[in-house]
């Protein structure tokens, strides 16, 4: 992850194309509703290099999926398209996408950036053959005959490890098993050799035994194609397995980001501590209970003042002057390529981590 020489709310953002392959700057995605403005993503910045994997972690409603759909430019389409307010910048390979015309973004979609969805059964059209759906994806961006595209589809199905691809290409999604379906979905996403692959909880709907296979497949394909991968997940096990960098989201904002090693070994934010504490581990005594993060995810309409996490944070009262409740913490550099947004002082964090959190993990 490239370091940004500015804080998250940085208005000094230059319009200059960044060096990173994908760079998101101060992204805001708001949905006006009858109850108020839902601030699903509120000032998010990150970047991904080619060949690297960024994991975006957070609870449901923390804005991770909204972020991925924003990068794909999928919010502005359909009947709800008018009801979204997006600002900030998304730079993909030197092109800015937030201000680009829907048609420009459409041309990039599927070719330069592709997406894998959570539930492959509902994400594939039930009435069309799997092969035809892959052919369709290929032919939007390549002027080739149906025959050539079909050959390509068989090739891709073979590549993602589907047995008898020449036969399965004529199968319907409901004739595939869950894992095979997700493989087919990956084949469809990769058919145009996209340089950015966004995987939105690709293993959540799958059997545990199949999960690891799918993750391996994504990792292998990434190595082969050298693409950048964004892995959206709430499963820290997945993150540990696959990610180079981690971005922890809470209430539509980034609370901590850094390399996977840094975030796992020296997490700096109380929310990340909570996530780690709620993760089941095979090497832990079964008699020990998991410690869930207490409370509910914040409302995205009335985001708590100050630090959005303060109502659930056991350490919110440690910083002086009630600052957790009044001032929103900005991301600060806390280690090599490691940023965190917390009012706790470095000494307090160090103390709490080593004395209270780490021994329990």
């Amino acid at each position: 992850m490239t370091e940004l020489s500015k804080t998250e709310t940085g208005d000094e953002a230059t319009a200059k194309a960044p060096s990173a392959f994908l760079e998101v700057r101060d992204l805001k995605v708001h949905f006006p509703t009858d109850d108020g403005i839902v601030k699903s993503v509120d000032g998010l910045s990150f970047s991904v290099e080619k060949g690297k994997t960024l994991a975006i972690v957070g609870e449901s409603g923390s804005g991770k999926s909204v972020t991925s759909l924003a990068v794909m430019g999928l919010h502005r389409l359909g009947a709800r398209g008018k009801n979204v307010r997006m600002s900030g910048e998304i730079w993909l390979n030197g092109k800015e996408l937030v201000g680009a015309s829907p048609d420009e973004v459409r041309r990039l979609r599927g070719r330069e950036m592709a997406m894998i969805f959570q539930d492959p059964l509902s994400a594939m059209h039930p009435y069309y053959k799997v092969g035809d759906q892959i052919v369709e994806a290929y032919r939007v961006h390549h002027k080739v005959s149906k025959k050539e595209a079909r050959k390509r589809a068989v090739e891709m199905l073979d590549r993602v490890g589907i047995p008898e691809p020449a036969k399965r290409v004529d199968g319907y999604p409901h004739e595939f098993s869950g894992g095979m379906r997700q493989r087919a979905m990956i084949a469809m996403a990769l058919v145009n050799n996209p340089e950015l692959l966004i995987a939105d909880e690709p293993t959540t709907a799958l059997d545990v035994t199949v999960q690891a296979q799918i993750l391996d497949l994504i990792r292998d394909l990434q190595k082969e194609f050298g693409s950048a991968v964004i892995m959206i997940t709430h499963d820290l096990g997945v993150v540990a397995e696959i990610a180079d960098d981690v971005l922890v989201m809470y209430g539509g904002r980034c609370v901590e980001r850094g390399t996977a090693t840094e975030v796992f070994e020296k997490p700096q934010h109380p929310y990340t501590w909570g996530l780690l504490g709620s993760m089941p581990r095979i090497d832990r005594e079964t008699s020990e209970r998991l410690t869930p993060v207490k409370g509910q995810p914040p409302s995205l309409i009335n985001v708590p003042s100050g630090c959005a996490f303060h109502p659930r944070c056991p350490y919110a009262d440690i910083p002086a002057d009630n600052v957790s409740r009044t001032v929103r913490p900005e991301l600060e550099l806390v280690g090599a390529g490691h940023w965190s947004a917390c009012h706790l002082s470095a000494e307090d964090r160090e103390r709490i981590w080593t004395e209270e959190i780490a021994p329990k993990l």
Binding site: R107, F117, P126, H174
Partner: protein, 335 residues
């Protein structure tokens, strides 16, 4: 797929048999149950003020004094093998398929029906094409821009269309477009004689009937599209970079269309059995008008014939829907 079609066809044949039984029951069993005697039933087949001897003769000749299962057997036999009716001095033959013999007009019902089917078919098919195209088109556009001016206007029109009875829209159309401004013809001309005149005469009837039905189809398509356009596979289609038009038509409409096929088959089947009111309003000598005629004349065989024909059309339409459904949705073929 072939075995599926065979299975459905077999089911349809069984259903037709059930239909004949029910029809028979309505016309021969039900009157008995409510206390009508065989004499009274026989009386309907003779002219006014018959003598006792006439009634007994007719009762015997038509087999009304025999047990019900024998009567039903004759009824079925008539349909598949023809029947003879002994009318005392003469015997009339009723050809296959014998849908009955009108003793009031002294004609077989089936030829009467077949000569009227083209008219009903012309009316129903023409209107069906109109309402399907307009209903689905309006529904799709409304769904893509919900709560827009277009949506509100056309959903309002649709509500009016479904609420206004044919007596009103039909007569209004005739009044305006054939009398006040005589754009359209008044008397039905068969398609084989003059296609232009055929379409010209039927057009007001098509539009009136289509207005009634397209309202339902517009609403059905709208709600179906609103639902499918929120499906995950639509998001997938967009994520592939497909143009929005392809997403809407190939992915959205295709999925939303299946329930519409079902309703369409039923509606068309029902209409083919006689668009009673429309044919009456537009003076089209179709099957529906024949039914009205049979009812006003209290001529049982005519009514029975129309009922049976309508039932056959509905069963056939259902069969077609089943087959189309399998063609449209690959998941159906398995079950």
């Amino acid at each position: 797929m072939i075995s599926y079609i065979l299975r459905r066809t077999f089911a349809a044949v069984i259903l037709l048999l059930v239909v004949t039984a029910v029809t028979f029951a309505i016309f021969f069993l039900l009157p008995r149950l409510v206390g009508q005697s065989a004499d009274q039933l026989a009386q309907q087949y003779i002219g006014k003020s018959p003598s006792k001897a006439d009634i007994v003769a007719v009762k015997h000749n038509l087999g009304l004094d025999q047990p019900l299962y024998i009567q039903y057997w004759h009824f079925i036999k008539g349909i598949v093998a023809g029947a003879d009716y002994n009318l005392g001095p003469t015997t009339v033959h009723c050809d296959v398929p014998c849908f009955g013999y009108s003793f009031k007009d002294h004609v077989e019902v089936w030829p009467q029906l077949t000569s009227r089917i083209p008219i009903t078919l012309s009316l129903a098919l023409g209107a069906a094409v109109l309402w399907l195209l307009s209903g689905v088109a309006v529904g799709v556009v409304s769904a893509l821009k919900p709560r827009s001016l277009f949506d509100r206007t056309f959903m309002g029109v649709a509500l009016a269309g479904v609420s206004l009875p044919m007596f009103f829209t039909g007569n209004l159309a005739i009044l305006l477009f054939t009398y006040k401004w005589p754009i359209f013809g008044r008397t039905y001309v068969p398609f084989t004689e003059n296609p232009a005149q055929w379409a010209n005469t039927l057009f007001p009837a098509w539009c009136s009937l289509a207005l009634l039905y397209s309202a339902i189809y517009a609403r059905l398509t709208r709600s179906g599209m609103l639902e499918t356009m929120n499906e995950d596979f639509i998001r997938t289609a967009r994520s592939k970079g497909l143009p929005e038009r392809t997403v809407v038509v190939r992915h959205g409409l295709r999925a939303a269309l299946t329930p519409i096929i079902t309703v369409f088959g039923m509606d068309l089947g029902l209409l083919l059995g006689g668009a009673v009111i429309t044919e009456y309003v537009f003076s089209l000598p179709g099957v529906g008008q024949y039914a009205v005629q049979g009812i006003t004349d209290n001529d049982l065989p005519k009514i029975l014939g129309v009922t049976l024909l309508a039932a056959v059309f509905v069963v056939i339409a259902n069969l077609l829907v089943d087959v189309l459904y399998a063609a449209a949705d690959p998941r159906v073929r398995l079950s």
